[in-house]
């Protein structure tokens, strides 16, 4: 299986194109997506990608060509126009960004569909190329597509790397950035433009409808694995690239498996896995910690109780499990489990149902009492 993949990579033209293309596109959208997630603008990508559709179709309608550069220019223009409209609505009315995004997303897309259905009825329609932009069709990628998209993506990434610390700063604290003299608003617009480019570049792979997930999911997953900004953006790019390649290759091998949805399903799996099992932040990790803290707390309470009565006349009665039931309000089963946890962790020893502090247990109890 693996050897046939490697063989195909060197000798199968389609395979190589698809794999290389998805690698680049996935990396670009993953990288910029990390910024979108951190800026809490995840849904911006959704609006941009949908808004790109009419630009795409109009570019085809006007030029009559299916040159990727022409189509992408149209898409970028329309996506940018959509964002401009969103900004205008939110700046001058009391309507909130979500409303503006919703309107731009659906209305631009609707207009795009009007154009698309119109184009499809034209006798000259080279419509296959356009349809691929709805749900993505990695298999239709040509080398020239990859070249155009890769250069666009490389340009976007180049600008991002050059302005790395500025972009990081406006993502974390835009007001502070502007007090240091950085033109926050211009940088903001630039970052949105770069995002538009990333979205448009990924369209042929994932499609208009699901492109937003390609931005959001890698960033959201990557955030769980690291607490460092640079690493997070890199991991996000790598997740985008990895999933992009995997999804594209699978979909180009299996009949009737559209690329976009395939990639998104795999991505969602990655996100779920990250949310559950990422060390430090993951849900699984946190529940374990919380459980441990609960036992720790109970065992400490037990240790303090034992310490209080150590050496006193009533010690013999107080160090039994039934005394715990009476004095600490624990039921017998819970008391047993706490005692067992404490024994396992070497805080107390248990002989014939009576509990005695170990030296570690005594230390712990003393520390707790000081706290």
């Amino acid at each position: 299986m693996l050897s046939s993949f490697i063989f195909d990579f060197f000798f199968d033209y389609t395979f190589r194109t698809v794999a290389l293309g998805s690698l680049v596109l996935g990396f670009v959208s993953g990288t910029l997506g990390a910024f979108a997630v951190l800026r809490q603008q995840s849904l911006l990508g959704d609006a941009v990608s949908h808004a790109a559709l009419p630009g795409l179709v109009l570019a085809f309608l006007i030029s009559g060509s299916r040159e990727p550069a022409v189509l992408l220019a149209g898409a970028i223009a329309a996506g940018g126009l959509g964002m401009l409209y969103v900004t205008m609505i939110t700046r001058h009315t009391f309507l909130k960004q979500d409303t503006a995004l919703g309107i731009v997303l659906a209305v631009f897309f609707g207009f795009g569909m009007v154009l698309l259905t119109y184009v499809q009825r034209l006798p000259t329609a080279g419509k296959a190329g356009l349809d691929a932009f709805l749900f993505g069709q990695a298999a239709t990628m040509l080398v020239q597509d990859v070249v155009v998209m890769a250069s666009l993506g490389a340009g976007a990434l180049g600008i991002l790397v050059m302005l790395w610390k500025e972009m990081k700063l406006i993502t974390f604290d835009p007001h502070f950035a502007s007090t240091m003299g950085f033109p926050t608003r211009t940088l903001d617009v630039l970052l949105i433009i770069l995002t538009v480019v990333a979205v448009v570049v990924g369209l042929q792979m994932v499609g208009v409808v699901l492109m937003s997930a390609m931005l959001v999911a890698p960033g959201a997953a990557a955030r769980q694995w690291t607490d460092r900004f640079n690493k997070m953006v890199l991991v996000s790019g790598l997740i985008g690239a990895g999933v992009g390649v995997t999804g594209s290759v699978i979909s180009s091998r299996v009949a009737r498996l559209p690329t976009g949805p395939t990639i998104v399903v795999i991505l969602s799996g990655v996100v779920m896995f990250s949310l559950l099992f990422a060390p430090g932040r993951g849900i699984h990790f946190r529940t374990r910690i919380r459980k441990k803290q609960r036992w720790q707390f109970a065992a400490e309470t037990l240790a303090v109780h034992l310490l209080n009565h150590e050496g006193s006349p009533e010690e013999a009665t107080e160090n039994s499990l039934t005394a715990l039931e009476r004095h600490l309000g624990w039921d017998l089963i819970f008391a047993q489990r706490v005692a067992r946890w404490a024994v396992v962790n070497n805080l107390v020893s248990q002989t014939d149902g009576s509990l005695r502090l170990t030296s570690l247990g005594r230390e712990t109890a003393k520390k707790v009492m000081v706290r």
Binding site: F172, D173, H175, S178, G181, F229, M232
Partner: protein
């Protein structure tokens, strides 16, 4: 009028949101080397005043001079400590990195901060007793510790005029102490500090000047002159009857 000796000179500053005035024709002269508290009821425009000075909200009219020149020419002389709630503390970064951001302006475009900046940032964290937390992810810091990180970020800017927006809000006693020590240190180094403050009880202890603000400037000057029942009444209306007993003259430090 010689304004060049003043750290900050605000003249006829008016700020309006949608034509509703938030600040009305505010004048303020801040001499160099003092600790000034801006005090006033909620919605008095205290934070807005600082933001307007920094150009973060547009002024409808008026003028702001920092050491005698318009603010944009004097940016490097001014450091800003925003409200703690203004950023997302779940941002993937650590305390040291946040402090280094204070140097981005000096580092200039495109260049990256390097070893030297790291050292400066660490020194600055040290000054707020946060050096041990340099590598700590910022969401794992307590509110007070986060506030101190913000202070360290302003310190590293090595400015002459410090503007702080509610640095005492919701911090623990240790941090409050640390901030006060820091403010005094800054003052003895000849710096000027302007602090938006919400706690009338501590004004007289912590600050040497105060400004009472309620949309317009009620009055400003040395605390012992300004902190009078009558002035407070003018700023707060009838809402501070409880204070009349505590309006003692400021304690000498």
């Amino acid at each position: 009028m010689d304004t060049s000796r003043n750290a900050l000179e605000i003249m006829d500053l008016t700020v309006a949101y949608h034509n509703k005035p938030v600040l009305w024709d505010v004048d303020l002269s801040v001499p160099e080397g003092i600790l000034l508290a801006i005090v006033g009821p909620n919605g008095a425009g205290k934070s807005t005043l600082i933001k307007a000075v920094l150009g973060l909200v547009p002024a409808a009219a008026g003028q702001v001079l920092v050491y005698g020149k318009p603010y944009p020419e004097q940016r490097p002389l001014v450091a800003y400590v925003p409200q703690r709630g203004s950023v997302d503390w779940d941002f993937p970064t650590n305390a040291l990195d946040v402090v280094m951001m204070g140097l981005y302006g000096k580092v200039g475009w495109i260049r990256r901060p390097g070893k030297n900046e790291r050292k400066l940032a660490l020194d600055s964290l040290h000054k707020v007793s946060m050096a041990d937390f340099a590598d700590r992810q910022i969401s794992q810091l307590s509110g007070g510790q986060q506030q101190r990180v913000f202070l360290a970020r302003a310190l590293v800017q090595d400015a002459s005029l410090y503007l702080m927006d509610e640095p005492f809000a919701g911090v623990d006693a240790t941090t409050e102490r640390a901030i006060i020590d820091l403010l005094r240190e800054l003052r003895s180094a000849g710096k000027t500090v302007i602090v938006v403050h919400h706690d009338l009880q501590t004004v007289t202890q912590y600050f040497d000047w105060m400004m009472l603000l309620n949309v317009r400037r009620i009055t400003s000057g040395p605390v012992e002159q300004v902190f009078t029942e009558e002035n407070l009444h003018r700023a707060y209306g009838g809402k501070i009857a409880f204070l009349s007993s505590s309006s003692s003259p400021p304690a000498e430090e």
